[in-house]
């Protein structure tokens, strides 16, 4: 059960970290993230499925998964950020969220137009990865790989944020965008890059989850609530928070599936509400001081 929770947490982290980065840097609660996830899942199902059908080597399949999501994230992210978001940056936070919601609606239909109403299954990566025996447990190789990947991603994100020039620029912009601009940081470029990275990560979340679920309409809608819960719990804009939030939601969901399967969404929502009640800024973000 604990391991199930870890697996769940792993994919949630991949999805949520992009969302929290976008919020932290751009102060946008990106509803379209659900579309990135869905596109990633469908894209992986199609491309990687086709790849494996040709009997090409397994390792390439996994690589293709990453490449496909990067392409999706790049294209969608750029179009959205440059074409749409750019025009509404100054506006009310709520209006911006609605714009991302509108984009989400449009993309949902585009998915349906491209892939129709069928559901897709991508089982090859699971089969290829086989299974591992750890003591008495038999774990799916894919699951283990997923958790390892998530951990690696977390380390990479943490490293980039704290030890690279680019990461530090990002941190400055997260902290105070006006000050960053005053220091000559090209905030506009930072926004674009952040959004694209967020889109890629969202799509990646969908892609890695594709083999484990039935890829069908509505997966984008569902994941949004979960991703939001993770980000709200961990602290919006905090990458470390996304990690912790994902763990919490993952384990809680796993526990509720095992003990009280009916109340899964209910339990997650309760946890989210409880955390928001006691620490509205999430577990990791610092409270903004009031300025009179």
């Amino acid at each position: 059960m604990l391991t199930d929770g870890l697996v769940y947490a792993a994919y949630l982290y991949v999805v949520a970290v992009g969302l929290t980065l976008i919020f932290g840097v751009m102060r946008i609660l990106n509803v379209t993230h659900g579309s990135f996830y869905a596109f990633g899942a469908y894209g992986a199902a199609s491309a990687v499925g086709a790849y494996f059908e040709r009997g090409l080597p397994a390792a390439g399949g996994f690589l293709l998964m990453v490449v496909v999501t990067m392409a999706i994230g790049l294209v969608l992210g750029l179009i959205l950020e440059r074409g749409l978001l750019r025009r509404i940056y100054g506006k009310d936070e709520v209006v911006v969220v609605l714009v991302t919601y509108a984009a989400f609606l449009i993309l949902e239909d585009i998915i349906q137009l491209i892939w129709g109403t069928n559901s897709y299954a991508l089982y090859e990566p699971l089969a290829v990865a086989g299974s591992l025996r750890v003591g008495k447990l038999v774990l799916s190789g894919y699951d283990v790989g997923l958790v390892a990947f998530a951990v690696l991603l977390a380390c990479a994100v943490s490293f980039v944020l704290h030890h690279t020039r680019w990461g530090r620029l990002l941190t400055v912009v997260i902290f105070d965008r006006e000050v960053a601009a005053a220091f000559g940081i090209n905030v506009s470029l930072v926004y674009t890059v952040t959004f694209v990275i967020g889109a890629v990560l969202g799509a990646l979340g969908g892609a890695v989850m594709a083999p484990k679920i039935s890829v069908t309409l509505g997966i984008g809608v569902e994941v949004i609530v979960l991703a939001f819960a993770v980000v709200a719990i961990g602290g919006m804009g905090s990458v470390a928070g996304a990690f912790l939030g994902a763990l919490i939601v993952g384990e809680v969901r796993s526990a509720s599936v095992h003990f009280v399967p009916q109340l899964e969404l209910f339990v997650i929502s309760v946890v989210m509400a409880v955390v928001l009640m006691f620490r509205p800024q999430g577990l990791f973000t610092r409270v903004q001081p009031r300025k009179i």
């Binding site: 609660l29 919601y101 239909d109 109340l263 969404l265 209910f266 989210m272």
Partner: protein, 309 residues
């Protein structure tokens, strides 16, 4: 002038085709939710979970009718209003302490909690929901065309009353202070006003309106299901609110009717791409008419230098 519009609408109805009347009924029921959201938006708050109260109102009438056999419309509506108002009052203690995005998220979380409960509870019909019997009007159970007509007049009547009461409220000190809350809470606190108290009041008003809207929708569609509490339902309400703009009470009704019309047209003309249509419409409105449809009226009626009432 508003009274005239309502009277004309009431009089014309028998002449209109049934599908328009049905559409208008749902639109007007939803408009009540939007009315509540407009009040909150003026104060700078946009909850992403009004569907919570909408669903409470809907399920209230459905359950009471099913388990007690009571079907009188006035009784059921009053029950829905009381229950959703109470829920808003209780949740308000918590919600009134938050602002901006945290307020929105907490509101969302609460509505999803209800959704989670509704979906998994067998007795409440879980995902399929259940049928709602049409209401009776002081003992009279209308049939056929009369049923639709009476329903429309009922909804129209509720909207008229709500419009009058909300207009009155927005002109009162408590209601008019919504915009100052958005501009400077500090100034209000230092003038002796409890801002959280005001917000709590607004939440109760919005919640009650949403509950009544939900009840009316339940009567109209003759069905309730958990999706009435889902985040996409809340999203729809916020969508219409932005469409309407926060300037006028009337805008809620115009905006809601427009939205339902757009949605129907989209379904009919582009069944596979209606969301693209709707999403694009929303984007266009946001980009080119940021103050919503209501602002069009303002430009026509009076010069823009006068501040909003």
């Amino acid at each position: 002038m508003g009274a005239l519009v309502f009277l004309v609408a009431a009089a014309l109805t028998p002449a209109l085709p049934a599908w328009i009347v049905s559409l208008a009924i749902v639109a007007l029921a939803n408009a009540l939710v939007v009315l509540g959201l407009i009040i909150l938006w003026r104060a700078g708050l946009v909850p992403f979970g009004q569907a919570l109260f909408y669903a409470i109102g809907a399920y209230a009438v459905a359950l009471i009718a099913r388990y007690t056999g009571l079907r009188d419309v006035l009784l059921l509506l009053t029950a829905a209003a009381i229950l959703s108002g109470l829920a808003a009052f209780l949740t308000g203690f918590l919600l009134a302490r938050y602002r901006e995005i945290f307020f929105a998220m907490l509101s969302l979380a609460m509505s999803m909690i209800l959704y989670g409960v509704l979906v998994k509870t067998e007795t409440l019909g879980s995902t399929d929901g259940f049928h709602v019997a049409p209401p009776t009007y002081f003992g009279y159970a209308p049939q056929g065309g009369m049923r639709l007509l009476l329903m429309f007049w009922l909804v129209l009547g509720c909207c008229a009353v709500a419009a009058v009461l909300v207009s009155f409220y927005l002109r009162s000190v408590a209601g008019a202070l919504a915009v100052p809350v958005r501009d400077s809470e500090i100034r209000l606190e230092f003038l002796g006003v409890s801002v959280n108290g005001l917000i709590h009041l607004n939440l109760v008003i919005a919640g009650t309106l949403a509950g009544i809207g939900g009840a009316l929708a339940a009567f109209a569609i003759e069905h309730v299901d958990p999706s009435m509490a889902y985040w996409t339902t809340s999203g729809g309400f916020v969508f219409v609110t932005i469409l309407s703009g926060a300037g006028f009470v009337a805008a809620a009704f115009v905006g809601s009717l427009l939205f339902e019309l757009l949605r129907s047209i989209a379904y009919d003309v582009l069944p596979g791409a209606w969301q693209i249509f709707l999403g694009s419409a929303l984007l266009l409105i946001i980009l080119f008419l940021p103050e919503g449809v209501g602002s069009l009226f303002q430009r026509v009626r009076r010069p823009p230098s006068h501040s909003r009432s």
